[in-house]
């Protein structure tokens, strides 16, 4: 169950198109910078197979110029069991 975040740079002038395309993908959540052509993408997929398919789908988006990973987490690679929900 991997979770990743990325800084995503659109091709020139395509930030709105990229925003629309990313928000249409079920495993993607996006945050758009208000004063730069940058999008933050957070992906949350249920398993490795879905994650691989998502990566492929992202790479095929014409409006996406590049992605830089800023965070990665995979429950399958964590020691011990998750603690579950907790109060904050």
């Amino acid at each position: 169950m991997p979770i990743f975040s990325y800084l995503v740079i659109p091709t020139t002038g395509a930030i709105d198109q990229l925003y629309d395309e990313l928000t249409a993908i079920p495993w993607c959540e996006v945050m758009v910078a208000e004063n730069k052509e940058i999008i933050i993408l957070v992906t949350d997929t249920p398993d490795a197979v879905t994650e691989t398919e998502l990566q492929k789908q992202l790479k095929e988006l014409p409006s996406l110029q590049s992605m830089s990973m800023t965070f990665g987490h995979n429950d399958d690679n964590q020691p011990g069991k998750p603690r579950g929900d907790y109060e904050v």
Partner: protein, 772 residues
Amino acid sequence: MKFNRRSFIKGAATSSAIAAASAIFPGISFADWTKQEGASGMITWKKAPCRFCGTGCGVLIGVSGDRAVAVKGDPNCSVNKGLCCVKGYHSVQALYGKDRLTKAQVRRNGAMVEVPIKEALDIIAARMKETIARHGKDAVAMYGSGQWTIPDGYVASKLFKGCLGTNNLEANARLCMASAVTGFMTSFGLDEPMGCYEDIDHANVFVTWGNNMAEMHPVLFSRMLANRKRRNNVEIIDLATRTTRTSQAADKAILFRPQTDLAVANAICYEIIHNKWVNQDFLNNHVSFHKGKTNIGYGTEDHFAFTDTEEAISFADYQKFLEDYTPEKVEKISGVSARDIKYLASLYGDPTKKVTSFWCMGMNQHTRGTWIQNLVYNIHLLTGKISTPGNSPFSLTGQPSACGTVREVGTLTHALPHGVVTNDHDREMAAKIWEVPVSNIDPKPTYHTVEMFRALDRGDIKFMWIQVTNPMVTMPNLNRYRNGVLKDDRFIVVSEVYPTPTTDIADVILPAAMWVEQEGMFGNSERRTQHFARIVPPPGEAMSDTWQLIEVARRLGFEKQFPWSEDEHIGKIWEEYRRFHEGPKHNMAPYTVLLERPGVMWPFVDGKETRWRFNPKHDPACTNGKDFDFYGKKDNKAWIWARPYEPAAEAPDAEYNFWLNTGRVIEHFHTGSMTRRIPILHQAMPSSYVELNPEDAADLGVVNGEMVKIISRRGAVTMPASINGRGVPPRGMVFVPFFDDSYLINEVTLDAFCPISKQPDYKKCAVRLEKA
């Protein structure tokens, strides 16, 4: 609240991405909340005004799920342009103190017991009915706040003045800005500043009159400092009774003896005329001269009454009046050297310099508060430095909606949303909008705040509902008023968010929604109305003050006047309220406009804000065809008043040989009931102290942190000494911040007030000190 583990990890993922983006692209902002609506696990940003002073900084509140988790300055808000102070940056933590009041409580057999809030509202309505039936309508009272939202104050006014027919409605803003109102009204005939914060970007000289802006209005102060750094022709003069952080940052700091600002202001005017620095053209066209009563008293006795009279005088009469205030004579009164007075006069008098004067509690909490406002206006009027960018006499406020709710809505005994109860036309307008018989609205004001608590002590008032304020910490001469509310047949309702010394004396406690847990509007110091949505839900059964009042009003039989649904009541109330202010002098922005912007200044005419009133280049209400139109007065002129120096109500003597001055600190808002629940602010400033001059401390034999007993004719408090700390009083004065209810300094202060504004003076009374 439950926070899903994956949501938390995704939040961390987002934070990492934001941190990386910020490092690679300095200045990058992710404030575009509209594209993030509904993004689970993400932070959603929503606009609001900060609620911790009167500046009105715009903030963006980060929300995750149902919880506010972050704050940043709103870069789109012209007030603060993305900057906040320490209180603003930590403001949302005030929502989540462990002891939030979440259930209603009722006193039974001496103990508070929890009840459903509907039952508590039933009890309140029944008690009000019973009290009115037995003792008359003027036996019930409401005491509100400059932290009330505009809808809170509006429905309170409608219920008490329009429906119940009593003028027993006051707000704690009486304690913080009533003198500012009477100053504006007597000099200009209309309330609130003619300028705006943009004056800071134009002025060459700033004079802070008894105003520690560095701590009390830090965002505006930083804007001043930024201008001084950016432009090479800006200077800041601090004119105060004690040395503060503002004095340290100023180019020149001048100390005057308490109360003698009256003499200093007159001496500046004398010097301006003496040196022929008067703007004669402005004076001839736009100013008239007046005098009022003198030796007007201090209001320390019950039933004190005072009405000023106005008499027109000539410029020659005014000049003759000022002969008592030569710089040399005033040096002896004030301790300010004649040279410094002449220097101040030269700054105001220099036609090449734009001058802005700032003040707040130092001039407002003053037994001659109205007079000192008049006198500072005199300086600006003699030189014509007013109502133009950078030339501004500017009264600041301390609460987020002292202007919006108390001054504009008129939640004071004499006032209505438009005008005053004594005016037939104003009562008729209110009756028409409120759909009540005009005979419902009593043409006679009842009690101002101090007298209202005296009436409660005497038994003339039996029932009081207190919302969003903490009078059992803030009333001067507190022992008398606490003893009054504790008398047997008094019934006190308190709407609050946390336990306070005021909830301690309550018979009913209503848990209140706080700030962005409800929809509302505030009005800041520069006539800016700021809307905020209900961004997070209130805890438990907590309910907005507006809705509490509506629920009780309906139980009292006023369904017709309070018909709105819970979903849309704020918008409906706003549109009803706006009708009071129609016209170019005070038109308010429509609800739909308020929703879109971080704030809108009134008068809002033809889609435009008015930045400088009385100036036809900016103000569409000007109609006289001249370069200024002071349309608030019937003679279309601003009034210069001959007001003398008169001493304080109580001054040091052989037995009580120190001045006591009280005030605030940057970390805490007022009585600290919210900011002391914010861990980082509480840890930064955990308790109050008494500032002493180092030489006085040496004479007393105390060192930093040792306990000092402060004794007045009314009470005593023992607290730790602060020597050479953040502020340093001159010899013969001590200063105590009032945020800490472990040290109730208002048991020591005096309930003397300005006879015109009825605002108490928290800055001057006589005490003696003992090493404890």
